[in-house]
Symmetry: none
Subunit: 216 residues, 4 copies
């Protein structure tokens, strides 16, 4: 699936790319504060540092901004994740590291994740599949890491369990962002990583020895 094209009147690709970055940066902040619907195109233009007329030289509709933002965020997350996975060795320890890394990324990109998570549903039927596709690719990455563990004989678990586990990891990562109002009161990021790893991996390795002592 190719990237969905967003039409620009301006031809200079470099310029288009630059302007869109300004746009995305400004929009993320606004969406974070007021949501997509309560943000006006004028505000986006202003936050991006140019006029409303100029904004419309680089997009066709307000929705395009949302798509661009979502697309950008997913790319960012995916890129970071990919870097990590390329050197993954397929051991349970590596899986744990991957989880920790992913949660860390979600923490770093808190605002972006929150925006994306809350506003994807505002995308048109038209744009949504492109974004969901990307999400599936990321879930798939986790599946691969887990599968590698299985292939290494370190883990005995069904295909369906693998896929669900991958979804769980992904959602728990997002969860750290979208449930901060609750989780932050109880856990630090480090604790959250540790505890979720316990629960995720405990189920796989049958330790059954979860207890408070495993925490600092």
């Amino acid at each position: 699936m190719k990237k969905r094209e967003v039409h620009a009147s301006v031809k200079d690709e470099k310029l288009v790319s630059m302007r869109r970055n300004q746009m995305i940066k400004g929009a993320v902040n606004l969406f974070k504060e007021k949501g997509f619907h309560r943000t006006t195109t004028r505000e986006i233009a202003k936050a991006a540092g140019f006029s409303i007329g100029t904004l419309y030289e680089y997009i066709r509709t307000k929705e395009d901004v949302l798509y661009l933002v979502c697309d950008f965020i997913y790319d960012e997350v995916k890129d970071r994740l990919q870097n990590d996975l390329e050197q993954n060795s397929g051991t349970p320890e590596a899986l744990k590291t991957t989880i920790a890394y992913f949660f860390q990324v979600m923490d770093d990109m808190q605002d972006e994740v929150l925006v994306m998570y809350q506003e994807v549903k505002s995308l048109t039927k038209d744009a949504l599949p492109y974004v969901l596709k990307k999400e599936m690719e990321m879930v798939h990455m986790f599946e691969l890491v887990i599968t590698r563990c299985v292939e290494n004989g370190k883990l005995n678990i069904s295909e369906k369990h693998i896929r669900l586990l991958a979804h769980n990891i992904f959602v728990q990562g997002q969860m750290w962002g979208f449930r901060r109002w609750a989780l932050r009161k109880i856990y630090t990021l480090e604790e959250y990583i540790e505890l979720q790893s316990d629960l995720l991996l405990g189920s796989l390795y049958g330790k059954g020895n979860l207890n408070a002592t495993s925490l600092p």
Copy 2:
């Protein structure tokens, strides 16, 4: 925390309650399809079966409708959950039953859950706490069930693990609603319940024997 009052011009309480139910029912459908922001008050009135003027006899602002909808859904879910938990025996089997029951409720109320999940963030700072409070109460119910297992000596697990586990259960319930686009393609509800139980409980009881054979 008392319920947040939504002002009605009409005095007859019975009538208010009836009209609001019509309203909620209509609104849920619309919100599900187009989201809160893209739904107009006129559409809500029409879907509820009365005129725009009448709508405003029962609410003050469009936001009130959203609050009423969210409040109703949480109450519904909570009520159903409460019924189940009252007769919960505090054994691991009972915990599994509770999870299954909760996931079933989330499946029954799919549309409502989706709406709530996507639109809570559109509530004003004013109304949000009332809804989040309710969410926390539900999470707390799960904590209680798990704690009862621990107290029964059937389970050895830290306080912090308990709370996180409760959150996970809650989110995994919602997940069945808001990620249907992905999960439905792979699992039936029964499978989803079974697999998630495996993962959740496996971590607690150290079976470590997860495999495809445990599935039909």
Copy 3:
């Protein structure tokens, strides 16, 4: 010119009269505070002590209330004035007394006068003449008193001066009501009466001796 009829569904004249008095009393207060346009019929009904449905048993349109209020106020002022004038002796002293009395009435009925003064223009073309007619009748009363002075030989002044003088007296009476924001800061009612009398009568009797010493 007969009184303009305001239609009532209710037949019992006594009741109609009673209900309308309640209505007028309530409405004057509301109009005073928020003006005719910003006052709703519901508020009028409530202030009158009955329901919106009942209100409409005694009037046909919101405008009727305004007309009723204006009509009532003019009648009140006119009645009071008439009482005084019947015993007027036609001397310059009597004229001064009349002025003092009129200003006193305008002070007593401050709120009503303000309302009337500000809202007459909101009457329909249809109702306005009835009210203006009444105003002219009051101006005419002043003309009569002045004319009597002339006929008594106490005063030598043209017909046109008389009529203008009458208008001036009337407007200066109203002025005490509608310019309170300015006049109250400088004068007490007594001072205002005294000073205006000086200016009005000075012109007629050629005293030319206005000075601060004539004031306490």
Copy 4:
């Protein structure tokens, strides 16, 4: 007291000024015919010659239009008055000229005066003081002219009389506008000026010789 700022989205000051003049011109006509409350913003926009959207580029609320109108009218009257007063010599003849001039202005600006006079009370608590301030300044101008006469020894009259006289002059000017329905039937502007001058100045100079023969 600085001018109360009315916010405009458009930056070009020249344009703002031009558009607002169109707006004021259109609004005065509408307000004159139907009053502020019965005039819609769409009508104002149309009368001004642009769209409703454009109207709101130059104001924030409908009330702003009223303020702009009132402010404009007061400025206009005040400016004209100021021009006359600068060359005022402080003699009774000059005072008479000033009065004649002021009444003439009020006649020229009949419509505007009527609007202002009837609608000031519709201004918010917020804007009212700015307008009343201007009114007081105008009254003060008259005080100055009268005071100059006193200082020249041409007139012996108390401070309080001066202030009241100034108010009377101002109100009688307005009166020519807001009581035209009655006064126009009896007097031409010239007569009105002549007669009011007789009454105003007669009181000051003790001629006491008012009679019909002084009129043409």
